[in-house]
Symmetry: C2
Subunit: 275 residues, 2 copies
């Protein structure tokens, strides 16, 4: 499995990926799932991948040479000459389709789904930052103000904290912290998501980044986050009142006299029915 | 979808279920997913169901008349005369198999999986409390000290808080609070899990319970929990330090000079490769 998240903010972009892969629980390996494509001053793009590793690696391999020939009189489109992130995402989608044409049939014979999902974001000089999620069919969607992040892989455990924290106005470092908390929750619940983690933070209109770090479990910041989050979550839980069944002695009774919803009927004899 | 959780503690049992069902997002209904079987002073058993609603309802219907004839000279086993929860769980598993025999083929023709999962727990006089999860094949597993709870339906969003809080020593009301927080996180992230909620708390060795409540979104305790949990979670998040990229000025640097793990290499030219 995999967990990757890409976040688009007004201040920049945040990308985080784990690096565990598994073919069954008895075959665990480490593969990095992030690539940074950067021509400083011109474009900075980050690709995150999840799904079948052979497909993801093939896509990454051919992405570098992938060309979209749109018209005979125009230079073919590549991620290095694309004038917009949208066009670069089209090149990426096309690379997925090439791998499909080459491998899907043989995978199907082997009973393996053609399954890959990608997050691709960045900025090309001349336009704003953009963030895309690319599907197995090579089609893609773009992040918007309302939904400023994309997750791929094991997304459920880490989603609640993103939903609570991330808005387009979130500062970059706070969003990086949020992505790491989201990853921490995921690693706690899904063994097939694991370290080291790759984190990239891109500041808007820089067209390059030096905020790239590989975080292992010895990383001081990650260790602090991991232990403090667990401990403080528990403190918050303890600080909430336990339910009180008798509504006479509390402002927030659990059982309300004459409540609006009907409590369950019990069944107390073999011949009794609910309805 | 559905979310149900059953928890076994030294002090008793806690059961919580939502009541939303859906056949696609355009067909949402309300069905209660919990039944309490109780012969006061002798046995108190609670059944939670998830999966295909027609299967779950059929299982509930025939469970009342289901008999396991083990030997011709012995009275057939039912949930009402079983002398252990294990035997009662066998009767339940058998009910699932009866529905399978009746419906599975026709469901398969219609392209529908035979999909049902059940949590079944309680206490019969003469033994301790027990909690089981019953699968579509009618087989089942029992909760232990190490894993004192079972979830069925949409389990992922609500699992982290259970893992952080629940141990066999957790007091009953605290466990009920934990189940409600778990449900709250699930309802926030999965539209197909919804109110009203049915909560039952069973105290050990009582062989009956009056702690049964139907909780809708107007319930004062649930409203308090919902708003306080969200707000305090956010406060905890804000209280954690943001990452600092420069390791000179912090005890917990994100980027460590000479860190153990290699940062990602960037790709900066079309002919460059990662490896």
């Amino acid at each position: 499995m995999t967990y990757c998240v890409g976040i688009k903010l007004n201040a920049g972009l945040v990308f985080l990926s784990d690096s565990r892969t598994n073919a069954g629980v008895d075959n665990i390996s480490t593969f990095r799932k992030m690539i940074v494509y950067e021509r400083a001053g011109d474009r900075c793009m980050v690709l995150l991948s999840a799904g079948n590793l052979s497909i993801a690696q093939s896509v990454r391999e051919i992405l570098q040479v992938e060309q979209l020939q749109e018209r005979p009189d125009v230079e073919p489109l590549t991620i290095w000459n694309a004038r917009s992130m949208f066009d670069a995402a089209r090149v990426l989608g096309n690379a997925v389709r090439h791998v499909y044409d080459r491998d899907a049939k043989a995978l199907e014979h082997a009973g393996v789904d053609f399954n890959v999902s990608l997050v691709f974001g960045g900025q090309i000089r001349g336009e704003g930052m953009r963030l895309f999620q690319v599907y197995s069919a090579g089609n893609f969607i773009e992040a918007t103000l309302e939904t400023p992040y994309f997750q791929i892989g094991e997304s459920k455990y880490g989603k609640p904290v993103l939903d609570r924290v991330i808005t387009p106005d979130t500062p970059l470092d706070e969003a990086a912290k949020c992505a790491l908390v989201s990853m921490d929750s995921t690693m706690k619940s899904n063994l097939s998501v694991g370290p080291p983690l790759d984190l990239v933070v891109y500041e808007a209109n820089r067209f390059e980044t030096d905020k790239i770090v590989c975080i292992d479990m010895q990383n001081p910041y990650y260790r602090m986050l991991h232990s403090s989050w667990g401990q403080k979550l528990r403190e918050v839980f303890d600080s909430l009142e336990d339910p009180v069944w008798d509504d006479a002695h509390t402002d927030v009774p659990l059982k309300v006299s004459g409540g609006r919803s009907k409590p369950l009927k019990k069944i107390s004899r073999p011949d009794e029915r609910l309805i």
